[in-house]
Symmetry: C2
Subunit: 284 residues, 2 copies
């Protein structure tokens, strides 16, 4: 049995004129999927629980661990969809090769922040800072406007950290995690205070992005792209305001939306509790 790939959620959509609509939205369920080879845990991959049997086959055949499909003796997905078991004749050298170097060769990776997440001892972010919605739309407009590299190459991710006092720090990279690491590193090296700063990014908001915010007291993260379910769950549990699809004069507020100060708000009374409840149900 495979898990559901899309989950429904009630969210707030804020428009450029300050109006707010409560709407149902669908978010993608990104899961940690464990791959087992010949009875041993091989590795875990963050992905969606769909075609996970083909995933391990394609991965191992691309890496030269399995040479022919006939070398596969059995292939099974667990009932909850989150473990895949493959038994096969393998090339042992190429298994060693998988881990021979500690390389984050992804251009977009962190194999790592997920490990930190388990032992975060940071408290829930109780900051009562509020962000004016017009200012947020202006910052989003500036986000791409200032990137020559993005316009010229068409393939970089960008991060913009806006400090409490309004100063902005920017960085770019082909990798979405790299751009965030760079902008945080710049802030740290300049001894900037990242408490109550907010981060604008170009890439998908998955768990690692939110964990990076948690680690540095960054209260809010905004992306022009989509969040994943685990990103939303992590933001909910750590008190981070998470905003996705910030583009074309609109933003989707997923968690802790009370920090966004909208001028003429028409939010339904129970909207916030709706969001929390849905996320907690989805995440449990």
């Amino acid at each position: 049995m495979s898990q559901e790939v899309l989950k429904k959620l009630i969210i707030e959509k804020v428009y450029r004129n300050g109006s707010v609509m409560i709407e149902e939205d669908e978010i993608i369920a990104e899961e940690r999927i464990d791959f087992y080879l010949n009875g041993m845990k091989l590795l875990s991959v963050m992905g969606i629980a769909q075609d996970q049997d083909a995933h391990i086959v394609g991965f191992l055949m691309s890496e030269g661990v399995i040479t022919h499909v006939e070398d596969i003796h059995s292939l099974r997905i667990s009932d909850n969809g989150l473990s895949v078991y493959i038994d096969a004749s393998v090339n042992e050298d190429n298994i060693q090769n998988l881990f021979k170097e500690k390389t984050l060769t992804t251009g977009c990776c962190v194999g790592v922040t997920g490990n930190v997440e388990d032992k975060i001892v940071k408290e829930f972010n109780r900051s009562t800072v509020s962000y004016n919605v017009d200012m947020l739309f202006d910052e989003v407009d500036r986000f791409y406007g200032s990137s020559a590299l993005f316009r010229q190459s068409g393939c970089v991710h960008k991060a913009r950290l806006v400090l409490k006092e309004g100063e902005a720090i920017e960085a770019e990279d082909v990798g979405r995690h790299n751009a965030i690491d760079k902008v945080i590193g710049k802030a740290r090296l300049s001894h900037a205070d990242t408490q109550d700063a907010f981060l604008i990014v170009s890439g998908r908001l998955s768990m690692e992005m939110v964990v990076k915010c948690v680690m540095h007291g960054i209260t809010m993260v905004i992306s022009k792209a989509a969040p994943t379910r685990l990103g939303i769950k992590t933001a909910q549990l750590h008190g981070i305001t998470l905003i996705g699809f910030a583009r074309e004069g609109k933003m989707n507020l997923y968690t802790h939306s009370s920090r966004v100060d909208t001028a003429h708000t028409v939010i339904q009374a129970d909207s916030t509790s709706c969001i929390i409840e849905e996320v907690c149900v989805a995440a449990s």
Copy 2:
């Protein structure tokens, strides 16, 4: 000294009506950057050689390896821009934590295909297959048209493998590498012949994507996004036709473009050699 982040290249732009323009284009230089901590190689990251000192600081502080910026004793980038050396007081437990689990926790990752690339013994792909340009534009049109998940969630990557006989296999995931692994796994599990198949993907064409094609005899890869310099170099050296920015009735041909059969072509006589020369110069 930092490396140049953008490289100029002469490419062919093919339009929906079959016409071809030779134009200069700029591509992003994705590099393997080595991080050294207290005199020891820590890991490598694929990224652009810009702000690489801030990158290691942000990364290590997000992972809890370095707690305060004052704990950094020295920070230096090598002359070629590809190595960063940091000396700092560190939390040893959290260094171990970085590597405690073999986890590809990225949603878009392969820490791995790069390792295979060093030892690929596959021959240069000399296939003389040719692809009709109208058929290619039609396949690109179909690419997103058929994805309900993409439309609903707005955050999945997709891969479509078109076999020589015209049959197409599709898969999706939040990770661009995962989607490709899945589609190749599906092909393998169904005993499909991937020789001379072509792959359409939604994500950036970096080296790992091209290596996956090499490993499975896939002759051509098309993306609606940009290629990186290392992706182009790898495609050039292994005989893979690489097409980027396939959108809005246009495609950019970066390598081995002779396989694309355009109706009324107006290619300059020396265009192909231009491309090869430029890539080899850039890659050396």
